[in-house]
Structure formats: C-alpha cells, structure tokens
Symmetry: C2
DNA sequence: CACGCAGTTGATACAATATCTCAAAATCAG
DNA sequence: CTGATTTTGAGATATTGTATCAACTGCGTG
C-alpha cells in the first residue's frame, strides 16, 4: 500500500522530483498558512516543526515550487521580502492598498478566455496567473 | 516661467513630494529603461549619470514610486531581486516562462469592467493592475 | 527487502541587497 | 531671498539568499 500524498506533493513527484522530508515540510507549512507568507515566516514555521531542516533547503524548495507554478512570490510592501501565495486552481487575485499595504483577496476572474487566446496566438502553454490591482482600500479612500 | 516636468514627475509633486534631483534621475532612468529593471541596474544607471546620488535615495525613490503606482516590483527568477516595471497607463501584463524565465509582454486587457465592479462592490479606489501569466514559452513547450 | 545511484540535504562561510542614522543640503512657498 | 520642511548621502549595519561539498536519502531495480 503506497503512502498518501497531497495532490501538490504528487505534482512534485510527477515532475520528477523526490518527495523528501524537507520538501514535504515546506509544502505543509505553506498549505496550512493563510497565504501571503514571507520566506522568513516559512523558515520559522519549518524550523518549529523540524529544526534539523536547513535554510538552504527551504529556499530551494520555494524556488522549486515556484517553478512548478504551485506557489508564486509577490511583492506587497518593501521590495525586500516577497510573500508567497499558493495558486490553488492555478490562479490568485488580490488588491493591494498602496497606502496601508492591506491585501484584499477576491475569487472571481474571467481570464480563461484570455489565456486560451494567448496560448493560441503566442504558442505558449500557460499553467496559471496572478492578478493584482493597486489602489486605496475602503479604509484609506 | 516654470520648468517642464514629465507627467510622472507632476504626479509626484501633486502627491505632495518634492521634485529633487535624486528622484528625477531615478525616474528618468526608469523611463528610459525598457522595463523589467532590477534595483541593481537602476543603481548602476543612476550612478553613471550622477555618482553623488546615494544608494539609500534610490531605494527610497523606488518605494515612493511604488506607493504611487507609478512602478511595480515583480518577481521573475531569483527570489533575491525584484524587477521594476513602469505602469504606463496604470497597467502592465506579461507572461513568465517557468522554464527559461523569459518574459513576454502583451498589451491587450479587458480588465476595465472588472476593476469597476470591484470598486463598487468593495468600496475601493483602484489605480492600476498587474497581470502575470505563468507557463512555458514557445521555445520551451 | 537489501542494493546502489542520482538527486538532495545541511552547516557554514559568503555574497548580495536593503535599511538606519543624523548632520548637512536642497526644495519651494511666501 | 528667506525660512520651514523635506530630503539627502555616507557608511555602518541588518537582512536575505547562495555557493560549496561531503554525507545522506528517496526510490527504482532486482
Ligand atoms: Zn488601505
Ligand atoms: Zn484567475
Ligand atoms: Zn521558456
Ligand atoms: Zn490591463
């Protein structure tokens, strides 16, 4: 009986990567976070669960998950630390307040048609997208 | 007779900021770059034009321009350096190849209606957006 | 279920990148 | 021009990510 892995872990394996303890730990931290976590927060959470996992592996895993379009780094406020979001169905959408840096997520998106058109016209194969609006939130208007 | 400034410089002034030499230099570097420049590239270009401008001011200006939705940092490959793009009419769109990290820009976007709907429903005031697709480019398919 | 190899790891030193501090300078309204 | 205020620049410092490489591990094979 083969062990059960999360769908995202399966995607890692299907892409030819090993399901190591370090990778599974990083992935579970990301999955249990509310989204928009910085690398420092991921490092801290990973360390809480298993302090033997090295920093380098955490960064390597974040890069790997990014390459597989499982997560995506975005810049909210400082240019120094990106925050990572999961791309649950391949996409993610939010509004960033340019005054208070609050992030408002929203779900709906009608970008399927645009993606299909781009794929055909530019001969690319798209696996996800991120849509960010900037402006002032209701508190800052 | 008042000096002429670029529309983006005017936006800075209108928002209550001074049009200093450092800020105008950073802005002109960004405007003359092709877009997708890293902070290191901006620093280098600024330094070429006026080596007396300090690093701190360049970073401060990048943050300020970001807050005003004049530019936007995005993450292309390494997690270490964001690249900045101008938001010419408030928006920018590109496709990032998750294999070779090539960036393909495209112009068309039908997000005006979505922006209007979000403004009304969430009581926000939007000033721009960034749309990123991820996938494989034509060379990597 | 042991074997073995390629992929992966972790410790540490290192590199790259951004922020802080504060006296001095520059902007710009009046 | 003058003065109130914002902004600057140098460099030390903090933060964040990478390189190196011997040791280890996942996992296919038999
Ligand atoms: Zn706000
Ligand atoms: Zn979407
Ligand atoms: Zn490519
Ligand atoms: Zn657009």
């Amino acid at each position: 009986m083969s062990e059960e892995f999360s769908p995202r872990a399966q995607r890692l394996r299907d892409a030819g990567h090993k399901l190591t303890h370090a990778r599974l730990t990083v992935l579970s931290v990301l999955e249990e976070s509310g989204g928009h976590v910085t690398s420092a927060e991921v490092l801290e959470q990973v360390n809480e669960r298993d302090s033997t996992i090295g920093r380098a592996s955490v960064f390597r895993t974040l890069d790997l998950l990014t390459a597989l379009s499982i997560i995506r780094p975005t810049f909210i406020h400082t240019s120094l630390t990106p925050t990572y979001v999961l791309l649950p169905d391949g996409h993610h959408h939010h509004i960033i307040c340019t005054n208070c840096n609050r992030v408002i997520e929203f779900e709906e998106c009608g970008l399927g048609a645009m993606a299909a058109e781009l794929e055909q016209r530019l001969h690319v194969k798209l696996s996800g997208h991120l849509l960010e609006f900037y402006g002032l939130c209701d508190r800052c208007c």
